[in-house]
Amino acid sequence: MSRRLAPQPGEWIDRNRPVTFRFEGRPYSGFAGDTITSALWAAGVRVLGRSFKYHRPRGLYGLDGSDSNAMFETRDVVNIRGDRAPIEEGMDLRAVNTFGGVERDRLRIMNRFGRFTPVGFYYKAFHRPRSLFPFFENQIRRVAGLGTVNSGKALRHTPKDYAFCDVLVIGAGPAGLAAALAAADAGARVLLVDESPRLGGSLTWHGNLDDSRDRLADALRRVEAHQRIQTRTATCVAGLYADGWAALIDRLRLTKLRARAVIVATGVFEQPAVFPHNDLPGVMFAGAAQRLIHHYAVLPAERPVIDTRPEGDSPAAALLKREGINLLAGRFIARARPAGGLAGIRGVELCRVDERGLPRIEQRAEQLACDAVVMSVGWTPNDTLLRMVGTRMEYSAEREQFLPVELPGGVFAAGKVNGLVGLEDRWADGLHAGQAAASALGFGAAPGGSRPAPAGPAINHPYPVSDPDEGKNFVDLDEDLQVKDFRNAIQEGFNSPELLKRYSTVGMGPSQGKHANLMALRVLAKERGEPLAGKQITTARPFSTPVALGHLAGRIFTPYRHTPAHAFHTERGARMMFAGTWLRPEYYEVVGKTREACIQEEALHVRGAVGLIDVGTLGKMELGGPDAVRFLERIYTGRFDNLKVGASRYGVACDESGVVIDDGVVARLGPDRFYVSTTTSGADAIYREWQRWALCWGLKVILNNATAHWGAMNLAGPRARQVLQPLVDISLAAADFPYMGVRECRLDGVPARVLRVGFVGELGYEIHVPAGHALGVWNRLMEAGRAADVRPFGVEAQRLLRLEKGHIIVSQDTDGLTQPFEAGLGWAVKMDKPFFIGQRSLKIHQRRPLKRTLVGFQTDEARPRTMPRENHLIIEGKEMIGRVTSIAYSPTLKRTIGLAYLPPSMTAPDTRFTIRADGGELVPAQVCRIPFYDPAGERQRMTTPEEDAR
């Protein structure tokens, strides 16, 4: 049966645009502009959902964006709020939190077991016997929660964005509209935000709209025409933070808004009357009934009664009386009488009230037949955002509500949230707030006169509770909490607002306690026999309303970095890996071969012929200026004042505590020009540190982080010279370009810096060229090296090759406590220098015996059945005495080798120890001298004429 009314003035629906959708398998129709709830209510559907705990039928309640029991899901979207979400053509909706559908929910039986499931029962039950806990846990997990996430749905990124304004006005009711206009007139750029799909707030639904229609129309016209006002409707400000940051949530996105001033004109939330069966379909707030009529032209019920305070003078009462609705006077609802299956109500039993309006349930009065109860017993300020930013709220016994008494700087409140009721007062308060906010930012003059103050009789019922022993009377419909639940919690000692919230979970549901928090506080005060004044609602934290995780994630920006030769790697079938944010070739896949085989073949090829590896990720620093040498002397542990132009030297950097933080090669390009490599992951941090030190020391040094602007590749292997020589305009002969030399030259016309280094233990040239030319140079080398059979090799092969040479990798073979003497880097530390970072600490370390030493080792078996891995422990008896830092099978040496930390007493060659591998297997190994490969370093130096000729 349709409950749609004749067209209402200003209704939000478009009757020319019908929309069809399905709910619980049945077809329905509504109009564009309808919410899911209004369309279903118009179609006569009363049961919209089931409650969280007892699975009781629930209908519409507030129609204000906080109806936690009218939530729906489609195949892909979960927990859609029916009282806010518009219907869409073809929607296929189900109620959340049901087992077998909203009408035949199998868990409705939970309502009969209420006495066994009091508040906090899950804290006390299911712990014994312990063996059964997993069973109960599994069952609770199945029935708890709301909605079912479809993890198989297509990933859809939401467009999270940023916005800015001078003044953010939250709430577009009369106070918000007036504030926006006042601030904008003063010259501020204003953003006016409202959760509803249209501006106007309570002027669109509350009371007699004929009185305010002209004012609303005029205000809307002015707002729309104002150059400095932007509006966003259907947008919720879910979080407010310090410094004017606000989180705006709409259907599609999260907007991070930065406002210089904020005006909170969020109005009020209605408070429930509490009586048995106050949760069933048909029991609703007066605001819900009015919105149904004015926004959606839907009749709330056939025969409703309205329970109102103060009696008779509520605008809601006036409206509903006009619609022929019964108005209770001098009475309170003692209990509602449920219809069959709890699908609604069929009447109410009334009781008398005392002189304060408090119900006297022992004085039962008449019974009324009805199909709905419209509650209008008071409001509480929608102050969540105010409290989020530290506004001090105090309870006014005179007004029976909280009021803001101290606002943080840059935050203003206006309208009903300030306890104002009359339209003129709210409008004036909005103007005042708008002018005050604007003038605080330097726009216009400060407002003259004082703000309106709350006046007239209190509009809030002090304790609208009927609490007989029969029937369930709900305070919090989100969590199915009754008055007796609070009473029980208080009796158990959870007798402060904070404890009560945590034990009972009041206010933790989807509506975040908008209708329940104040009532819970009233119950607490009454049970403790204390006044409400002085008590506080629990801390408000973002978000004030549930926000989809997808909104928070947004597009998920995860920056990555490519080296210039990236295209080559991917075309050549490289398996890429992350090294920090860089993508590097781990190895180049060969069809039919395992990862290990590919890596070993790459390594063998470097040893036997020539390979090319992309080392563009290395940190690359340029230094210049008259104090460049002095700077390097202070940064690195080694000596660089005697480094000749055209030569390079290994450098180790420590922090002030003497811990190794980085290493690299320092190359001297000129008397005052240096080119320095750092570790891949350390480059940015090292550069920042260097800038800081340069300032601290007051040195005349020019620093430049050239990491990304230069590409780099290492051509390594006995045929490296043969490949490179034809391409460069310098002689690569050993006599002209010795080991650890550096040269600036042209490589096929491209300016290049070439370093003769030996990280992998072969004749090697590290070639650095401007990044824009690096791919071309790489390809040129591959082409020129075809006859020499040059092949690319990846990071894993390089790791293996350097391990064979015993070269460490900082942060793999060192950790956050490693000092150079432990890592075998004492040779690179020149303690006789006047100063370097970490020197004082290292002097202390020098006086103390070492606690551990990095040594080389090999396993007894060439290929242990269970291969130890990095960070596996070295065990002696039951003691952990060390750990493996690097380990690999060397195809060149045909044995498994590694580096490990051991106590200094165990570092002599051939000392035996055991490594605990995966599964607890103990793998025997023994200490070896390093380097494992080419200990004399002849292959990387290639200084003899015979080798030079090869």
Partner: protein, 222 residues
């Protein structure tokens, strides 16, 4: 001579553009729909300007040094002055400048040669990835990627983060139309290009070639 390429060459190539040579550089002429691309520049378009020759400069008394070379040197920090036709010189620090060639690449080359002889000048290779975000609706892309308040833009260069990457922004009207240059380290270029392109397309814009920018690009070579 090995040609200089943009750091996003492989991303561009994946979209099968029409390439053209511009001096020593290879640039995208168009992505196959020059008409739409030209129209998009007024609305919302993203283009790659990475291959333009650049030079970084650090040193001592650089302002005077550059002035002696006959350049209009930006006096204030982060200010920008024109350099040749369509080029720019930006002051990134008290003693740090970035020069970019417009159509007259030789001007930058000769300047580089001259400065290389100066003891107080420290020449720096600048291989920045540089993109142009053009059109009336460019703000929609920035809104999703950048927390900078453009209403407070003081002019000149701004350092901020775009899509999580440290970037250098500069308002740079294109033939009288609103446009912004977005520069970053070349290694982040592929990521940033793809992030911006995806959002630009989502917002109804498109990636465009140099032809759409009307930068006097020579005829297509493919």
């Amino acid at each position: 001579m090995i040609a200089r390429t943009t750091p996003i060459a492989h991303m561009l190539a994946a979209r099968n553009p029409n390439w053209t040579a511009d001096g020593e550089r290879t640039v995208v002429r168009d992505f196959g729909d020059p008409g739409r691309e030209r129209a998009a520049v007024a609305d919302l378009a993203l283009a790659d300007l990475s291959t333009r020759p650049r030079l970084g400069l650090k040193g001592i008394n650089l302002a005077a040094l550059l002035a002696r070379q006959g350049l209009a040197v930006p006096g204030k920090l982060f200010a920008v002055e024109p350099f040749g036709q369509g080029g720019l010189i930006a002051r990134l620090g008290k003693e740090e400048f970035l020069l970019e060639a417009g159509s007259a690449e030789s001007l930058l080359a000769s300047l580089r040669e001259a400065l290389a002889r100066e003891a107080d000048a420290f020449l720096i290779e600048r291989e920045d990835a540089c993109f142009l975000l053009a059109g009336e609706r460019r703000g929609a892309v920035f809104a999703q990627t950048c927390g900078y308040n453009f209403a407070e833009y003081p002019g000149g260069v701004v350092f901020t983060r775009v899509a999580g990457v440290s970037c250098m922004l500069l308002e740079w009207p294109l033939n009288g139309r609103p446009a912004w240059r977005i520069g970053c380290a070349p290694s982040y270029g592929p990521y940033l290009w793809e992030a911006l392109r995806e959002i630009t397309v989502d917002c109804g814009g498109m990636a465009v070639g140099q032809d759409a920018l009307a930068l006097n690009v020579p005829p297509s070579s493919s």
